[in-house]
Subunit: 189 residues, 2 copies
């Protein structure tokens, strides 16, 4: 045999990741993915069943958030945005989710799941008032996803041009207030 089954499966998956990240779910075609992978479209079907299952495999992403409770309380804001930027630039899955979640309800549901399952629980460990944790996590999500949207997807020139340090310096305090502050910006006791 030319290649092992697992090898070609991996090649297809890599090509699918790139295409889904670049063109979204509808925009990425099986034929284009197969062409990128240098194989026949039929192979994609053989190994992944159909387009939706291929997408599911390509969009399997883990945020791998660090344990915020293990970080000095006054640094969680900077730590969160820093980690998120790293993660975004390493894992194409983030781009896939954002590009497709905007027009695909199933993916949007998945993003809500990631939010509720990976970010919210972490935030709730920071606060004694567990009631407010989802709100805090939600606020953090708006700022963090908004940055990803403007920087990596829309590529607004001033935002795309910022250095990692600048972003951390500007967004860190914002996230710090969302995660640990009250409305007026004072830290909770």
């Amino acid at each position: 045999m030319r290649r092992s089954s697992e090898d070609t499966k991996a090649v297809i998956l890599a090509a699918a990741r790139e295409r889904f990240a670049a063109d979204g779910f509808q925009g990425a075609t099986i034929r284009a993915i197969a062409s990128d992978a240098g194989i026949d479209p039929a192979m994609v079907m053989r190994y992944f069943g159909n387009k939706e299952k291929l997408f599911a495999a390509a969009a399997d992403v883990d945020l791998r958030f660090p344990d915020l409770a293990a970080i000095p309380r006054e640094e969680v804001g900077r730590a969160l945005i820093g980690h998120f930027l790293d993660r975004w630039e390493q894992d194409e899955g983030m781009m896939i989710l954002l590009r497709t979640g905007v027009t695909n309800e199933a993916v949007a549901e998945r993003m809500r799941g990631i939010f509720a399952g990976q970010l919210a629980p972490l935030v709730s460990k920071l606060d004694d008032d567990r009631e407010r944790a989802p709100l805090r996590a939600g606020l953090a999500a708006t700022q963090v996803l908004g940055m990803a949207l403007c920087r990596y997807v829309l590529r607004l020139p001033p935002v795309a041009a910022m250095s990692r340090e600048e972003i951390v310096d500007w967004l860190g305090p914002t996230l710090q207030r969302y995660l640990t502050g009250d409305v007026d910006g004072h830290d909770t006791a």
Copy 2:
């Protein structure tokens, strides 16, 4: 004649707005739009030429930002987010741009144009240091678009559940700092 040319054109445009806002550019089909409008798909072509021109007509949006310089300096943050929330809920064009700009480069370019032509100039009037104005505007865009994304598109439960006042109270100070503060959050002289 049953209807005037302008009337049906308006009916088509209204249906197109809804479909584009709900399904994005690729997801919205001429046939579905025509069906919503209660007419034949061929009419759409007759009046708008092709799908892209129809989209261009449907996505013609004006942010109608107020003159930030005419607002007390310490309130520009709250004013900006408040105005943006109003605008979003009144004009389907905002949803169209966000839903489609994420996967369509031409629309993304258009959003960059709106940003550079409508938001950035306004911000530059707030600051003596004109060099920093694009950066400030960009930061504001990340927070404001991130809120729209999480609240109206992704519908993250805690964010969608917030009241207008809560959002203004939480995001106002953030935008205030992006627009008029230095990195540490102190107002510029």
